[in-house]
Symmetry: C2
Subunit: 175 residues, 2 copies
Amino acid sequence: MSLQEDLNTIPGVAAREAATHGFVFNHTMLRVKDIAKSLDFYTRVLGFTLVRRRDFAEAKFSLYFLVLVDDPSQIPAEEPARGEWLLSQRGVLELTHNHGTESDADFRYHDGNAEPRGFGHICVSVPDVEAACARFEQLGVAFQKRLTDGRMKDIAFIKDPDGYWVEILQPTARV
Amino acid sequence: MSLQEDLNTIPGVAAREAATHGFVFNHTMLRVKDIAKSLDFYTRVLGFTLVRRRDFAEAKFSLYFLVLVDDPSQIPAEEPARGEWLLSQRGVLELTHNHGTESDADFRYHDGNAEPRGFGHICVSVPDVEAACARFEQLGVAFQKRLTDGRMKDIAFIKDPDGYWVEILQPTARV
């Protein structure tokens, strides 16, 4: 039995239905307190490109859509092609900013890893996890788990400005 | 000024550093109570393929990695190529199952959309949002927001077995 056939015997796993053809796991949305800090983290530290902002002035929130691609020139420059491209991609990050939270010293979002738990983390894979983590240290990024912490020496977790965990790993590592 | 140049003036947005070359937004991790129910939902209803399971018997949890691709034959059949492929992809979904939670009637995870808020949702884009939602209705999927609810008539939110919100939209819609 192949590895895939073996996985397909796990209770709950179903064969793909034709009706799901063309479905794309497009994005993950996180609420952030201070959008300037989050944009700095995701663009400067992790290399994301901001592709779209949508402002809802009346409801007092804005949405920011980011992608992590090596060649941003592939992103269509103009709407509507730009939006269609964005919503057809895998691995988009949507950040929701409720206006004013950045000015409230006591305000904070819940990272999902303390009670009540649920969402755990996002993950960015990197070509060289040692080099990436050394750079994060130089940049003063907060770590939840360094490579040297715990049993799993080939993964790290850094924290974004809201405390959301971002796993860092190398595809060729044994994880 | 181009749309991209305009976005690049938003406070916090930084130019991409060469050190982030090759970084990939690989996955999003959610904890799930009953893995069989979740695997059924993500494979049968949404079309994901289970690519890897990792069991941690001593720590009593298992990890499940799924991708949503039209052609699963592109997934390398054997390790280590399979794992390297998986961790190099965008848009992987990782489900964490802590063993035994499925047998605890009172156990539930937090979806992030009630207090304390944080994580909001994941999103699956589909070629035809009307057809997709009609199929979800036929399948008895729970809705958080139907297309006809609220102001935004071109997006829906369904709920996975843990109550996590899954946005459904069509890339060509005005969202």
